[in-house]
Amino acid sequence: MTSVIEVAGLHKAYGDFEAVRGVDFAVSEGEIFGLLGPNGAGKTTTVEILEGLRARSQGQVKVLGFDPEVSKRSLKDRIGVCLQATNLPDKLRVHEALEWFAAFYSHQADSNKLLQRLQLWDKRNEFYSKLSGGQKQRVALALALVNEPSLVFLDEPTTGLDPQVRLEIHTLIEELKAAKRTVLLTTHYIEEAERLCDRVAIIDQGKIVAMGSPRELQERVFGQSRIDVVTALPMPVDLPVFEAVAKHSLSDDCKTLVVHSTRPARTLPDLIKWIDQRGLELEDIHLKRPTLEDVFIELTGKKLRD
């Protein structure tokens, strides 16, 4: 598969502060690639360099075959971008916004189809200020698609939206994938990355700390599942050694136990048996696969969102 984005040894410094400190990755055609990282990790800077909005300090960058710093206009003409927190004038109608932006591009999508696809057809004559948050975000997505781009940058496309709207946007992104568009997505939402991304890169302090499919990442870091056990009576502090258990931790009241196991199918019956024998009265037990968030915390020592 050909690479749509190639980044090698990317550095960006603002004065003494290094925002990006050697980033390498490549995105293939048709892939949905996620950049995950806390605020100030350098993901927005990286994306803006790729979009031609910012100059880099060092490194090689190729986007759709262009160097974004040299061929800014040609690049912008071919990509679609949905930035965080942009607005349109209050008194602009939805269809006018599409016409306006379409005029800037050499290649234009059918705006009627676009409006229908984004479920904006009924709202096409509405003023921008009258739209709900979700509708505004769909307009932003529509604007990112007015030139039928083969590569779309989506910067936190669902931040601040309610779950229902978030699901709608997810469906749209999946449609993009189905239409073989390449998408570079930055997000705070782990579920979003897990659900949508073919591959994810975790960025922290200007560096990529891990990269791979969500599944790969989960396995690479832990290769483990987590079992949560709650009992009615306190458990003894000196637990027996179970087979395949990597580590465990007991809550202060000794009624909640968290066990990490490499072979949960083996550990689970052992645990239940032990609780039965001791008469601790099992109240709740469940098995969880590790999430990307767990991976993230493990890798960076911090949470993605406060």
Partner: protein, 600 residues
């Protein structure tokens, strides 16, 4: 590429038309201002109002339009959205400026039409020059606005900085308040303000006095600012609040104002703008509309109308109404009640010597500045109701110079005619000069007691005048071979013979005082037996014929110069009534006689 400009302009227009605030400030506000100024001015001066409203629109539309819109769009993260599209700051700034132009030009045309329809303003005679000049001004101010937008970080900051430019430009440029109303230092400061150059071009172009080409300095400065300003506005353009500006960038604002710093420095030396401001102020005065109601009219050719009204417009006599006077308001004119008064054509003196003072004076200072003397003497004529004089024996270059400053309106004084071909059959007895010479020889000072004489001779010289008279008296020498009764007889014979009698006073000789002597001459003619109407004709229509200017002055007739004298009483019954001056009009201007001698 072109498509993106056009769409950008179309959308800008669309959004402005949907924005009530913007509409109010671009269209309704100037209209309110127009209405208020138009009403308040009454007959006033419609072109003054038009100039003011246009200036307001161009300054406001230019400075606020493009720049503040960009600041607002940046603050609301709208520009961020454009940043990722294949469009540059150039397209945004340039199409913003074109939009401002497209919004203002119809407004300008609208105001001009409105002023014509409702205030009776004339159509601009230089519409092309006017539109181009106004567009240049708008673009220059818009580019300034664009730079301001790049420099500021918030809407509030932008408003503050914009107003820091807007208000001085509005109030110090002459757009709203005439520059001449300011103290001298402030007049100098005004020469550094871009809007001053805009106003200096706008006013004369609006009045059809000048074209674009006559204002090449203003045009050049505005064009340079528009070009450099646009370049800088594009270069400094910021899409997002977070984008930092190099601190050196603020100095670029000075670079854009550079042309005006150079012009200002040049003006400090040349002062041509101050002269131009005087001319503009004069123009404004001359183009006021006034109705002199219910006066007795002496038309100049001997005809008298017992009750008539005269409409003065754009410096000319626009209409003469006999019978009861029309309403001044309905004619959009300042009403001047003149019942019991007599209106005459401005008096004319066909023989004056401006190089001579008209009274004995030993002060050497007097002779050091002949130009100043000319100015004062021409003012004295106008003060006395004499609106035109013909020079005799003065230096032609000086006469030419002063003729020009009076015509342009830079100074206020009687219109000056150079020496020229006389008319053979004209007879000019100069009785007042004869009388004065005899009085001077004998040291008689009673001629100095006349009120008009005391008003026109500068105070500092009047005090020493009587002493000087006594010193200079030479009663033993008879310098004048002509006895007064002989002169009177010659005059009556000439009148009987039907010769063209004209008033030429020889003012400038000792005791033939510039201005009042014309009145004295008329009184002496009547004493000699000439009918008052014939005497008055000698100082009006006949004199105008001698000056070959009788197609323009010397008569109260439609289309003639509105250079008129309004006096209390009836000079046809008592010729000394001409000295009881109520109002002097000069080329349409109602002369403020009290400040004539205080012109700077």
């Amino acid at each position: 590429m072109l498509n993106s400009y056009l769409t950008q302009i179309r959308m800008n227009l669309l959004l402005t038309l949907r924005n009530r605030m913007a509409l109010f400030f671009s269209y309704i506000f100037p209209l309110i201002f127009f209405g208020a100024a138009g009403m308040g001015g009454g007959g006033g001066n419609p072109l003054q109002v038009v100039g003011m409203v246009l200036g307001l629109g161009v300054l406001g539309g230019g400075l606020m339009g493009v720049g503040m819109r960009a600041v607002q769009d940046r603050e609301q993260n709208i520009l961020r959205r454009f940043k990722v599209a294949p469009i540059g700051p150039g397209e945004i700034i340039v199409s913003g400026m074109v939009t401002a132009l497209a919004l203002q030009l119809p407004n300008i045309i609208f105001i001009v039409v409105l002023a014509h329809r409702f205030l009776g303003a004339p159509w601009p005679t230089q519409p092309g020059s006017l539109l181009i000049f106004v567009s240049l001004g708008l673009l220059a101010f818009a580019s300034l606005g664009g730079i301001i937008a790049a420099l500021v970080n918030s809407f509030q900051e932008g408003m503050l900085l914009t107003q820091l430019f807007y208000f001085p430009m509005l109030f110090l440029s002459g757009i709203t308040i005439p520059i001449l109303a300011f103290p001298l230092w402030l007049q100098t400061v005004a020469q550094f303000i871009p809007a001053t150059y805009f106003n200096n071009g706008l006013q004369p172009i609006l009045r059809g006095r000048e074209t674009l080409f006559d204002n090449f300095a203003s045009v050049g400065a505005l064009a340079l600012t528009a070009a450099v300003g646009t370049l800088l506005a594009v270069k400094l353009f910021r899409w997002e609040k977070e984008e930092k500006l190099r601190s050196a960038a603020k100095f670029w604002l000075l670079a854009v104002l550079g042309p005006f710093l150079v012009l200002g420095a040049w003006q400090m030396h040349a002062k041509t703008n101050i002269a131009k401001a005087k001319v503009l102020g004069r123009d404004a005065q001359r183009s006021r509309t006034a109705l002199i109601r219910d006066a007795r009219l002496f038309l100049g050719d001997g005809m008298v109308l017992d009750q008539a009204s005269v409409l003065i417009k754009d410096g000319k006599i626009a209409e003469i109404y006999t019978g009861s006077a029309p309403d001044a308001k309905s004619l959009r004119a300042d009403g001047i009640e003149a019942a019991g008064k007599t209106l005459l054509p401005g008096l004319i003196d066909v023989r004056v010597h401006l190089s001579l003072p008209g009274f004995p004076i030993n002060d050497p200072q007097f002779y050091q500045n002949p130009d100043q003397n000319f100015d004062r003497e021409l003012a004295a004529y106008l003060f006395s109701g004499v609106t035109a004089v013909k020079s005799a024996d003065d230096q032609p270059d000086m006469v030419g110079r002063h003729q020009a400053t009076i015509v342009s309106g830079e100074r206020l004084g009687a219109e000056l005619f150079p020496e020229g071909k006389a008319i053979d059959e004209a007879y000019d007895p100069a009785l007042a000069a004869l009388e004065a010479r005899r009085a001077f020889q004998r040291g008689r000072t009673d001629l100095l007691d006349r009120a008009l004489v005391q008003q026109v001779i500068p105070r500092q010289w009047f005090a020493q005048l009587k002493d000087a008279m006594k010193e200079n008296a030479r009663p033993e020498i008879i310098m004048n071979p002509l006895a007064p009764d002989v002169a009177r007889k010659t005059l009556t014979e000439a009148y009987a013979a039907g010769r063209l009698l004209v008033v030429g006073t020889e003012s400038g000789y000792p005791m033939v005082v510039h201005g009042p002597s014309v009145h004295r001459e008329l009184q002496l003619w009547v004493e000699a037996g000439i009918p008052p109407a014939a005497a008055l004709q000698g100082a009006t229509y006949n004199a105008a014929r001698l000056l070959h200017a009788d197609s323009r002055i010397g008569l109260i007739r439609k289309g003639y110069d509105a250079s008129l004298l309004l006096v209390d009483g009836n000079p046809m019954q008592d010729i000394s009534a001409t000295e009881r001056i109520s109002t002097v009009f000069f080329k349409g201007e109602r002369v403020d006689r009290s400040s004539l001698f205080e012109q700077k």
